[in-house]
């Protein structure tokens, strides 16, 4: 059983839009792209490496998949992360994407619940990670498919932008871990209630 873990960079007001760069996602006139970068430090990088070390595969929505597929195959920094992303299986859900050509990508068109359940039941260690992919993560939540969360809460408020927890049902979670970085990111890990 491989748990699905939503691992998301968030602000204090729950915004997840465009942490990595100004042009990453300007939908809705979002002007704050790139808010994560000033808060990156050595400990943050270490915690990311630790998190990525537990990943067995990735589940993506289309937008984040396309963004990552354009960047990571030719990345010149964060080479450990690049290697993990470029090597491990990537499952992308999209009705419009015609091909998924990034190495070891699998375009998923079937029923979300059936497909994700099948992936979770595959033997082996490690988590199925959902990074970015906000709307897709919300679909997983609505279908009770998420087993855990790693929330990287950054110490700032943006006042606008897409939020992770939008159009989702009531969910009870159990806190399993709290870490912090020197620049004030609080890393919270939760399990969905009833999961072991």
């Amino acid at each position: 059983m491989r748990p699905v873990v939503v691992s998301t960079f968030l602000t204090l007001d729950g915004v997840m839009q465009a942490p990595g760069g100004a042009e990453e996602d300007t939908e809705g006139g979002f002007r704050h792209g790139g808010w994560q970068m000033p808060l990156f430090d050595e400990e943050f990088g270490r915690l990311i490496d630790e998190e990525y070390g537990t990943i067995a595969g990735f589940l993506f929505g289309r937008k984040t998949y396309e963004l990552f597929a354009a960047y990571w195959p030719n990345a010149t920094e964060d080479l450990e992360i690049a290697k993990i992303l470029n090597t491990l299986p990537k499952y992308v859900w999209s009705r419009t994407l015609e091909r998924a050509e990034w190495h070891n990508s699998h375009l998923m068109r079937g029923d979300l619940v059936e497909e994700v359940t099948r992936l979770k039941e595959q033997p082996g260690e490690g988590i199925l990670a959902v990074v970015g992919s906000g709307r897709f993560a919300q679909s997983l939540m609505r279908n009770n498919l998420v087993d855990g969360y790693t929330l990287w809460v950054h110490p700032l408020v943006l006042g606008s932008g897409k939020r992770l927890f939008e159009d989702v049902p009531r969910m009870d979670l159990a806190l399993t871990d709290v870490r912090r970085t020197p620049k004030g990111v609080v890393v919270l890990r939760y399990k969905a209630a009833g999961r072991t």
Binding site: L12, D13, G14, H32, P38, L39, D41, M141, L151, V153, H154, P155, L156, V157, L158, G159, S160, R163, F165, E166, D167, V168, P169, R170, M171, D172, L173, A174, L175, V178, R180, T181, P182, K183, G184, V185, V186, L188, Y190
Partner: protein, 201 residues
């Protein structure tokens, strides 16, 4: 110069509405009032107090929270909070309340709340503690009057309800002073207004 400290209870999706009781605030048909109660723990009050630091000399409240606190806490002797709340000055922001206010030591803030608060901060050296009071919280952020935020994050998502950080509010950066957890999974994080350059706890 006094400081303004806010202690706020939120869910993981940022909902602050009615943490304490089912009938506390049912605006919008909110069905989950009292969501914080199951997570009470003996250590939570102590940890939150340590986040607040120096005891505050006054309370700062919006109308709704003020009236709710008055009905819940006023005049009781069966808890450690009522005596303090009855005793300290209480500043109440409201455009609809009229004096006299029901609770002793209450002062009504009308009109230019932000301007008035700047003056009062100078007069209350022991600082003011705010809880709940979502509308006033946003006013404080807009006018950069909040000095410290003790944020208690509960391990649940509600999917509906009024949020502490409303859409369209002003951007702000904070410096994390510390983050702890209770045995029930409530995370108590203390933030100081200012650039996010890291703390030491």
């Amino acid at each position: 110069m006094g400081r303004i400290l806010a202690m706020e209870f939120v869910t993981l999706d940022g909902v602050m509405q009615a943490p304490g009781r089912p009938d506390e605030d049912t605006r919008g048909g909110f069905p989950y009032g009292g969501w914080a109660a199951p997570y009470d723990s003996p250590e939570q009050f102590r940890m939150a107090s340590e986040g607040i630091g120096q005891p505050s000399g006054a309370m700062l409240l919006g109308r709704r929270t003020y009236l709710d606190f008055y009905h819940v806490w006023h005049g009781r002797t069966d808890n450690p909070f009522s005596e303090w709340m009855d005793r300290v000055p209480k500043y109440v922001a409201s455009t609809t309340l009229e004096e006299p206010l029901p609770w002793q030591h209450s002062t009504l803030l009308r009109g230019d709340v932000a301007g008035t608060l700047k003056r009062i901060k100078a007069e209350e050296p022991a600082g003011m503690l705010m809880m709940g009071s979502g509308v006033l919280f946003r006013t404080l952020l807009e006018h950069d009057l909040l000095d410290r935020l003790v944020l208690l994050t509960y391990p649940l998502v509600l999917g509906t309800g009024r949020r502490l950080f409303a859409e369209g509010g002003p951007p702000a950066t904070f410096r994390l002073l510390g983050a702890r957890r209770t045995s029930t999974g409530v995370v108590i994080a203390t933030y100081e207004r200012g650039a996010a350059t890291g703390g030491d706890r």
